[in-house]
Each structure stands twice: as C-alpha cells, then as structure tokens.
Amino acid sequence: MVPIHYYLILSAVMFITGVVGVLTRRNAIIIFMCIELMLNSVNLTFVAFSAYLGNETGQMFVFFIMAVAAAEAAVGLAIVIALFRNRQTVNINDVNILRW
C-alpha cells in the first residue's frame, strides 16, 4: 500500500523544481513550461486527495485547472510571439522597458 504522504511529497518536490526553474531560467518559454510543471504538481495533490478521501471534487478542480492551463498556454505563447516580433528576443532580462 502507498500512503498518501508519498504522493504529497512527490508533488512538493515537483513543485519546488518548477519554482527553481522559474527563478533561475531566463528564457520566457522555459519559464512558461516551469509554471505548467507547478500546476501539474498541484493537480497530483488534488487527485491524490480525491482518491484517498473518495470524493470527486478534487478531480473537478483538476479539470478546471487544465482548462485554465490551456487558456494560459494560448495567451502566453501569443505574448511570447508578440515579444519576439518586437524585440527579437525571449530573454526576460532584455525585456526591461517597464524598469527605469
């Protein structure tokens, strides 16, 4: 039998991996992928609790998170393309027009 702790700790490790990625990488698309990784680790927690509690609400949450992630992917990648078109870069260190 696999206790729920294992799933929760795995999810925590994956979430932190995503956090480290966001903090260390400078490529906008990779940062975007790290955010997807974080969303997914949260999904794992939801599904794990749903299975161990015998309650389907967790899986509903996952469903809606996936819808949000899909919307985010469409808009986020559109932003990246617009950014690249205007500045020929996706490195977020070079996108400092709002920084004085």
Partner: protein
C-alpha cells in the same frame, strides 16, 4: 515491497528526474521533451490513483495539445541555446536555490513523513476511488453539481481565443 509501491517509485523517479532535467537543459526543445516525459509519468500516477479520465485527459490536453503548441512556437522562433546554467551561476541563483530548498523542507515538515494527524488515517485509497474516476461519474457530477463553473470555463476559453488572436496578429499599417 508491494507491486503498487514499486510502480509508484518508478513513476515518481521518472517524474522527478525529468523535472530536474527539464529545468537544466540549455536547449528549449530538450526541455519541452522532458516536460512531456514528466506529463506521461503523471498520467501513470493518475492511473495508480484510479483517476482514468484525468489520466487520459492529461495526455490529450497537456501532452497532445499544449506541448505541441509550445514546441511549435519554439520551432517557429528558432530559438538558440541559452548559455549552460553552470556558467551563469550567480549569487541570485544560489539564493533562489536556497529559498526553494527551505520551502521544500517546510512543506515536507508540514506533511510529516509518518507523523500522526489527519493524514495518518489515509494510508489506503478509499474504496470509492475505483468508481469516482470513471468517465460516467465525472460526467454526471460535472454537468449537475459543477455546471456553472463549467459554463464559465467556456467564457474563459473564448476570452483566451480572442486574446491570443489579437496579440499574435500582425499590426495593420
């Protein structure tokens, strides 16, 4: 060790390793591939949790649609490799690593490896787990109890479509 634990450990190892490889590869295409591998491992973990609908949707939506789109954009922009991570390690990087590690320790401490509390009662999956993961059950709950959020999601997706087109469109002269 039971067979379930072995399956879990293999999938967990694949998930964690692919995650770490994803954030350390300089090439964005390699990163995307490792993220896809990570999603596959997650789909396997959902199967071990008897959430078959979520597992198949994970592959269909994440691996099949979102990541294809990401890969498409990476190839369209023809991005070059970032400089390898170990050459650009700075104080900021060590700082962020430290913060992340602290956060991990904190979360694990809260979960507690084997401490008592509410989690202690959840050593095994609920007997309902087999039933609630099926498409029939998810469908009936989604279209009765959660029908308003579901309809709102469609508005969200419409807004996303419009937003994406407006932003990615070429400027008119």
């Amino acid at each position: 060790m039971s067979s379930e634990l072995i399956v879990f450990l293999i999938l967990a190892a694949v998930g964690v390793l692919s995650g770490i490889l994803m954030i350390t590869r300089p090439n964005p295409v390699n990163s995307a591939l490792f993220l896809i591998l990570n999603f596959m491992a997650l789909a396997g973990l959902y199967i071990t949790l008897h959430a078959q609908f979520v597992a198949i949707i994970q592959i269909l939506v994440y691996a099949g649609a979102i990541m294809v789109l990401v890969l498409f954009v990476i190839m369209l922009l023809n991005l070059e490799d970032e400089e390898p991570l170990r050459e650009q390690m700075s104080k900021r990087h060590y700082g962020s690593l430290l913060v992340a590690l602290l956060a991990l320790v904190l979360i694990v401490q809260v979960i507690g490896w084997n401490s008592g509390g509410t989690l202690e009662t959840m050593r095994e999956q609920s007997p309902h787990a087999l039933r609630i993961g099926t498409v029939e059950h998810i469908g009936s709950v989604l279209f009765t109890e959660h029908v308003y959020p579901f309809e709102l999601t469609s508005i969200l997706l419409l807004a996303a479509i419009v937003g994406a087109i407006v932003m990615a469109k070429k400027r008119f002269p």
